[in-house]
Structures are given as C-alpha cells and as structure tokens.
Symmetry: C3
Subunit: 424 residues, 3 copies
C-alpha cells in the first residue's frame, strides 16, 4: 500500500539486522560521529524510551497501597483522565493543524510529546515527592498528574511550532517534564510554599502560564530573522481542523477543571467552567469584530478557550455568575493579546509565538492566578507562587531554548516536507 515498495527495503534495515549496524548507529551518534541527524536522534530516543521502561519496572507496582481510592472515586477520575487525553491528542494536536503545510508534524509532535512526557513524569514524581507522591497502580491519580504535565508541554511547544525539528521537540519534552515537575513540587508539596497556601485548582498558573512563559523563553533564544519574514500560511482545511481541535478542548474542559476536586464539588466546578467558556466565547466574537472589523476564525478557535484557562485557579471557589464574568474578561484579554499585544511582543522578543500561547495561556493564566488573590488566606503566598512560576518558566525556557538551538536548524519553516514523506 501507499507505494511502500519504493520507499521500503531501504538498505539500513537489512544492514541493521545483518551487520548489527543499529548498534553502530547508536554508538556513532553518542560519539557525534555520524551526520545523519534524524537517524541519530531517533536512536537516542529509542534508548531513552527503553531506559524509562526498564526504570519503571521496580516502580508503580505496589498494588493496594495505603490511601487507595475507592472504586467509585477511581472511576470518576478515570473518566476525567480519558477526557483530558482527548484534549491532549485531539484538542491540542488538531488546534495546531492550522499551519497549512505542517499538519503531519503538528499531530506527530503531539503524539511524541505525550508519549514521552507521560511515562517520564510518572518516573520522576516519586523521587521528588517521596511517600506523598500518590503514585500507585491502585490509584488513577498518577495518570492525571502526568497528563497535566503533558498539557503544559504541548502549550510550550505551541509557541515554537514550525521552526524546530521533531527531535528538538522531543529533547524539549525530555527537559521540560522534570522542570515542570519541579515547579509543581515547589507550589504544592509544602516544602517551599506551605501546603494549601497556593490556590490553583485546575492549573491557571501551574499548567497554563508555566507552559506559555516557558515558550516565551524558548522563543527568545530560538528567534531568527528568517522566521519574522515568513508568513504562517493557513487554509480553509487547516483552519477547520483547528476549529475541531478547539471544540474538543472546549467540550472536555470541565473534566480538566473537575479532575482533582472533591466529588461533591464536581457540579459547581463543571457549571463554572462551562460558564467561563461561554463568557470567553461571546467576548471573543465581540472583540474580534470591534478590533479587526471582521471575525478572525483563529480568534474563535483560541480565545474562546481563555475562559477555561482563567477560571482554573478559582473554579472551586466562585459562583456561576462570577465565572461568566471572569470568562468574559479572559476572552477580551486573549483577543487583545492576539491583536494588540502580540505584534509588540514579537518586536520585543525578536521571535514569533506561532500559536499565540501567550495570548491564550499566558495572560489569561496569570489573570486567573491573580483573581485567586482575593480568595486565599494568604495573598502573599499566592502572589509568590505566581511570580515564582512565571520567572522560573521564562528562565528555564531560555535555557532549554538555548540547548535546543545548538542541536539543529529547521531549513524549511512551517513545512512537513523536510522530515515527512508528503504526497504531491
């Protein structure tokens, strides 16, 4: 099928099987001897995946750990964890398909980022948290925490979409995941900020702002003259796929917000989330027209979701009417971001924020974290958590962006054909 005979039977496979060349490839790569960087990196990530798998074997297999959740609690959370998986692969993945010639890479990078960060996070967390890690095969909660890490990684990737190679995204994922886990540990473990002092029920700061400001740091380091001169092309088809991804995020967002709240608060949290999304959707329509004169469909696909981002911190602590108003403001902030702030920020940083993650996850996330100042016992710890997260994210984004920039250069921006077999 698909003309496989032509592309298949490539020498390398026979060689690797016959002469043990696969091991040679890996060795060459470690010694930096081979120039075929796609293959070298592929081999690196194979080894990393095998190591993660083996390292996990002694972990995660204590069945019936103390503090196990009940069957019903597990099932409620299972349901939400599947919904969040939909958001990751179908939501974030297809929202990024708006770049016309880059759809294959957008989805593939989403697959790979999820496939790497989920097991990596599960491996790391017990070392950071010790007995409090809540990592056991009797509880589904470990999966949820890992999915939140993957969500934040996908946000970070969205900022640099189309300008680095696939293996660089994998490397970014391998570095981002432990840094995300570290920041989460600072905010919630009690070791730095007192336990319970930082309110961020559904990750306005922890997940959204952290990913977006990490992206901003990477954008600064990866900025190039070339990228500012090339327009990101879209098409009807690519934008319709983006709308589909957006819809998948919209409808499952209540599960993102309700995943970790106590069971009796689920109705409130679900209704608050939906009203915040409703508010943001209307505000997006309104401000897209008021500012641009016409509706930009990318605003609808993205800024409509800002209500979900902003309500995250306070979603279990406000009432429905306030949620609608928070959503309205968040949608307005996001459209202002796409229209007014992004061009200026691009001048300031010298780089392009491809998906506008600063507009969708950065500013609405910080807005959400700041709303919570009025709801917590100690506003100063809340503020500290926001500031620590943003500064840590930018700094680490700069560092990771620097490392990634050393490891290859994408020649044809916003285009699959460099790395993929593309039909005419």
């Amino acid at each position: 099928m698909r003309n496989l005979q032509d592309v298949v039977l490539h020498k390398i496979i026979y060689n690797s099987l016959d002469d043990g060349r696969l091991l040679n490839v890996c060795w060459d790569m470690l010694m930096m001897r081979n120039q075929e960087s796609m293959k070298k990196w592929a081999a690196v990530f194979l080894i990393i995946a095998i190591v993660i798998g083996i390292a996990m074997i002694p972990q995660l297999n204590e069945y019936g750990a103390e503090g196990a959740m009940t069957a019903a609690e597990n099932d409620f959370m299972y349901e939400k964890s599947i919904h969040i998986l939909v958001m990751l692969l179908m939501g974030f993945g297809f929202l990024m398909v708006f770049v016309r010639k880059y759809g294959y890479t957008s989805v593939t990078v989403t697959y790979l980022a999820v496939a790497l960060s989920l097991p990596l996070y599960m491996l790391i967390r017990p070392y950071l948290w010790g007995p409090a890690a809540d990592i056991s095969i009797a509880n589904i909660s470990m999966l949820l925490f890992a999915e939140f890490a993957a969500a934040s990684l996908l946000i970070a990737i969205g900022g640099t979409l189309g300008r680095v190679n696939t293996h660089q995204y994998l490397l970014i994922g391998a570095l981002f995941t432990p840094l995300y886990a570290l920041n989460e540990w600072i905010l919630f473990s009690g070791a730095v900020i007192p336990a319970g002092a930082f309110l961020d029920t559904a990750g306005s700061i922890t997940i959204h702002a952290f990913g977006a400001y990490f992206a901003l740091g990477m954008i600064i380091m990866l900025a190039s003259k070339k990228e500012r001169e090339i327009e990101v092309e879209t098409s009807k088809r690519s934008n319709e796929f983006a709308l589909l991804g957006s819809a998948a995020l919209w409808v499952f967002w209540p599960s993102f917000c309700a995943a970790l709240v106590s069971v009796d608060k689920i109705p409130l949290v679900a209704i608050n989330t939906i009203l915040a999304l409703c508010g943001a959707t209307i505000a997006t329509y309104v401000f897209s027209i008021l500012i641009r004169g016409k509706i930009e469909v990318a605003d609808i696909a993205n800024a409509s979701l800002a209500g979900g981002v902003a309500i995250g911190a306070s979603v279990a602590n406000v009432t429905p009417g306030w949620s609608m108003l928070i959503g309205l403001i968040a949608g307005a902030i996001s459209v202002f971001g796409y229209t007014i702030i992004q061009p200026r920020l691009q001048k300031a940083t010298g780089g392009v924020d491809t998906c506008g993650v600063h507009n969708l996850h950065g500013m609405p996330g910080v807005f959400g974290g700041i709303i919570a100042l009025g709801l917590v016992a100690s506003p100063s710890w809340q503020l500290a958590g926001v500031i620590i997260s943003v500064i840590f994210a930018i700094t680490m984004g700069i560092l990771v962006g620097f490392i990634a920039s050393r490891l290859g250069k994408k020649e044809t921006l916003y285009d699959d054909k460099e790395e993929f077999i593309v039909p005419d």
Copy 2:
C-alpha cells in the same frame, strides 16, 4: 502570527480605550445612528452577556440544596452532560460544515448559540419553574436542561443556515431560548398538561420537533427569491467534516437519551438508542439507493440519526427489537423527507431548509411523539402535547423570523467572506 500586523492596531480599539468610544458605539447603536452593523451588534451582545453574568450572581449559589443528588448520581449525569456538549459543538457544529464556503460561520455560530443559550436558559428556568426548577449548584441537572435547549436552538438554526448574518443568529438564540423554556414548562411542569401525562423521555417533540418546526416558521418569513436560485455547494472536504459531525452525534446519542432516566433503566435506554440508530442507518442506505439510484452521502450523515430522534419519546418504554424497527421506519421517513418531501415543501414555503432539519428532526420527531400514544395512560394529553408544541413552534418561528428579517440582510449566501477574514 497570521499577518496580524496588517489587520491589527485598528483605530477603533485605541479610540474605544482612549475616548470611551465603546460606550458611544453602544449608545449609537441603541439610537440606530451608526451604520456599521457588525460592530453595533457585537456591542449589544457584549452588554447582554454582561447582564446575564451579573443577573446570575445572586442565583445558583445555594450549595447543598434540598433534594441534592448523590455523588454517584451526579457523576453519572456529569458524564452524560459532557457527551451532550460533544454533540453540540463537535456534532451539530461539524455536521453543518457541509456547506463548502461556510465552514467558519457554521462552527462559530454553533459556539455562539451554545455560549448564549446555556447561561440564558439557566437564568430563565428558576423564574418559570419556581422551587421545582431543580436548579442548584449541588446538582448537575440544570446543565443538562440547558444543553437540551441549546440542542433545540442548533436544530432551529440549521434550517436557515447560510442565509442570515451572525448577529441575527445570536438574536434568534436570545429569543428562541425563553420560548423553548416556555414550551418545555407547558409540557412538563404540571401547570398546563398534568405532570407525567406527556411522555417524551429524550425530547422527540420537546427538543427535536420543536426546533425543526420553529425553523420552518423562520424559513417562511426569511424566504427570498435569491435563495431558491443559488445552489448550496459542497465538497469532499466539507462533506467529510459533516460525516465526522454525524459520527460524533451517533456515538454519543445514547447519553442524550439516557441523561434523565433513572439509573436502573440506563442499560435498556442505551441499547434501545443504539438499535434505533442501527435501524435508521441501514434504512438510510437502502432508501438512498432505492430512491436515488446511488448513495447520497448527506443522507448517510443525516438520516442515519433519525432513529435517535424518533426513539426519544419512548426509549425507556419499549424493548430492543421494537427499537430497531422504530429506527428502520424513522430512517426511511427521513430519506423520504430529503428526497420526496423537501422539494415540495420548499415550493410550498418558498424557502430553503438548508440542513433539512424537517427531514431529520421534524418528521422523525413527530413520528416518535406519536408512537408514544400507544404507551401512555392518556393518549389525548400526549396528542395535545405534540400538537401544542408543533403549532407553538411554527407560530413563534414565524414571529422570530419576522423580527430577524428586519435586522439585516446577508449579501453573499452560503459564504464566510462577508463576515470573516478568509485566507485565499
């Protein structure tokens, strides 16, 4: 990104911030002084959304109301409410993407209709129902009722798709929602028809037929010579998105039907719904071929769902074999509608039913309501409910269609470019 620099920084935003012109715009619009109707209407809907948000603040915040559902009941219903959200945004939304040049508007209008009708319904219901409203943040049921209103609105919109402007759809939504709530109250509150006398478990009449006949009323009032001369263009791409929307409706339909039944009836209702859909799918294939000679993919996307529409009224009161047969008949009715009845109806009304909602939701809905005649204690109340709903829907559709027709005229039918920034 996306060439924002060109379209951004539009004067209006600076002016609105600097000179308070946003308020001027609103005032001008109320005074009918300004001709830029898109902006005027955007401002109107911003104000409406803010008012809804503020009006909700004193509502919906009594936590732990009497008659609160258990955690498990809430979670069962939460699950179904998310599934119905998928049906609204991904299902109805993408089913309407079949119009080739109108995909942006189809999805955006879906977003806006949902974003307006959910909070509006939640606001209205307590005034209509009083203490029986079952509206409390301790119960997820309020969300379900609101989602049913949104579904019915999307059906009504489908009939006029492509021929009115976005702000007219919003206005239709603002008027439809209270009228839907009123009809629902007539059927179920006990104030008019005795409580429990009208059987319509999953809304064959209440949701589907009401929306479809409301559409018919609007179609009559919005009919124009132009629309009858212009063909609705489709493409492979647009029809494949429609199939995706259809599949989203098919697979989550059991949750639509099972959302409000007692927990012990969920298996029966789920199986009945699926068998009705199976029957309708086979009948659609058969009659599409028998009548047209070849398969029309729009039949598959639409009429396959007619089993879900028709089984709605009696889904908790029949057995699986009967459900399959009801589905077979409903699929046949729907294909007869698309092929034989619609052309005649368009001659009679002078207008076009873009999505064929009369074929998918109108006739199969009435068929479903009438089947229930054989299952209720008092067939006359059942019949009364059907007749009241259909007549009320047509009448109110005519009224709302008249109002909408006064408020603008879409120049380029079935095309996004009038209101959206569209890539070449």
Copy 3:
C-alpha cells in the same frame, strides 16, 4: 438542498409507492431476475434488518435478570461502551479515510458494518451461550460484547478496503459476525477450551488477530492483477482525517482494555494501556526514520496503536514498566510489518492489504497472545487458543472471500464515484 430537485423524484419511488414495485424489486432480486445489483442488494439488507428486528422482539426483554450488575457497575461499563463506540465510528471510520477518493465509502461502510453487526451479534449470542450469555436489558455487558464483534469486523474490512462494493461489505459483515461469535465461544465458553484457561483480557487474539487473519484469507480470494497495479492515492486532507481517526483510537483505547476487567483493576489496566501506546508511538517514530529515512505519517497513524493491540491479552497481568516495553516492541513489529513484511506478503498472497491490518492487528495481536504464554497456568491451552483462532480466521476468511467474490466486482478501485453521488 444540495440540488435535490435534480436527483430526487426518481421514478422508482413513485412506482414503488404506486404499483407496489418495491415488492416486485425484492421478488425479482430473490429470483435473480433483475440486473440492477445495488437496488437488489439494498432490498435484501432491508429485509435482513427487518427480520433481525422482529427476531429480537421476544429476546432481551427480561428486565431484572438474575446476576444483574449494580447501578455503579453498569455505569462504569456504560462509559466504556460509549468510548468504544467512538473508536468504532470515529476511530476506525476515519482512520480508513486516508484513501483520497474513497472517504465517503470508508465512513459509510463503517456505519453499515456497525449497524449490522451490533444487532446481529446480540441476536446470535444467546443461542450460542445459553443461560451464560449474559444478555439482558438489565446489564450493559451485552452491548460491549457486540461492540467487540463490530471492532473485529472493521479490522477485517480494512484489509480489503476499496476493492469490493458496499453490498459485499454488508454480506461480509453478515457472515463474519456469527463466525466471530463462534470463535469467541470456543475460546471462552468453557465448552472447548476450559473456562479461564485462555488469557485475552482485551482481545489481542479474539478481536485483533482474528479480524486481521480473516482479512488475510479474504485478500487471497479477492486478489486481482488490477489491484496490484493501481496505487492507493492519499492526500494531505485524507491523511489528516486518518490522523484524527488514529487519535480517537489512541485516547479511548484504555476503555477498550478496561471494559471487562474487575473494577479494582481499572487503574492498573488504564495505566498499562497508555504506557503501551506511549512505547509504540515512540518506537514508530524511531523505526519509521531508521527504515525509511523520513517519517511516513501512515506509520504514525497506525503503528502507534500497535501497543494497544499487543497489551490486550496481558493488560491486567503485567506492571507499567513491562507495558511500556511491550509497547515499544509492538510498535517496532508494526513498522517492520508496514515496511519490510507487507511487500513480501503481497507478493505471496497476490493481493493488497489496504490498511495494513496484518501489520497493526495481525502480528502485534499474535505477539500479545504469545506474551500471555508466560502468565497463564497452562501455556498449552493459551497456545491452542492462538493457533485455533488464527487458522479458523484464515480459513473462514478464504470461504467468505470466495462467496463475496461471486457477488459483484468493483470497477473503479479506491473510488467513491461508482456508488456515491460525488460533488465535482
């Protein structure tokens, strides 16, 4: 709508209504008198569907059967049964849309295969299993068993995609479903293999390998010179829809694996499934590059899922680290299949495996079944189950392929236009 006036009002409908010609058509067809085979077959399947519906009436209506599941158990399983429906219609359905000119048929055949096999399986099972059938409207489990049959059928169809007519697929479905039910009964009822001796929790052998080797049998019988000369065309659009289908399968796969396990094992099974998918996804990326030099997006869409196929048998009996490693191996096997084995197999069988179901479901399924050899009390019964299933599947595939080959010939391969009304 859609220019219905032109295609509608076709004589046949008036004739069938006026002269009772519909009955004539059916009679002619039974007598093999009429040459319009699409219409003949449509009538046949209408009759089959009616017969199934009527035959079901006395069945499945004993409410409150003994051994009824609790409300919570039913709801846990309901949730998973809906997720599996998503996998069937949106997952398998759109994964098969990768054939550029064949998207309408791919989705329509998916609809029809599901619509026929679900009720047919429900009808058959009680006759095979007797009182142990676990078929009652008090339990949702009957729906799950039927969905597994539909999944296996869709796999079988994927192998011959694009080369037979729609009615042949329906006939294949009508013959496949009882044969699948028979094989399942051999493996699990205790009548042949001792109850509990064969380990295949989520159907690596029962569902995946059976469907794939059945496809292989059909491919042999349906093979033609023409098909080996025609390339299966894809496009950006068609591959992006395939990625969407793939994502729908990926994210809901945990529910496929967890559907039938005891409630306390759901967290383990969900985590194991996801880690197996993560492993396969990374391995797919790696081996696609190592073997082909560039990434083939069809590998990503398909082979990434091989982890889910392979973990099926042992998913409730291994730990997370092992699941990741099993997934890595399964992904590698699948890419080896697409690149190295498929061209050779096509030479051997003379036919084309359109979707590469042998690579995704066949070899990874057998691999999964064989892993379980190390986990069962009696490896010889496990091995017997694997061998029986594969041989029975191939043999029956050959038989059904022979029958299907007698009943028509598709003229234009991999193209909708022969049977569908297609816009220009």
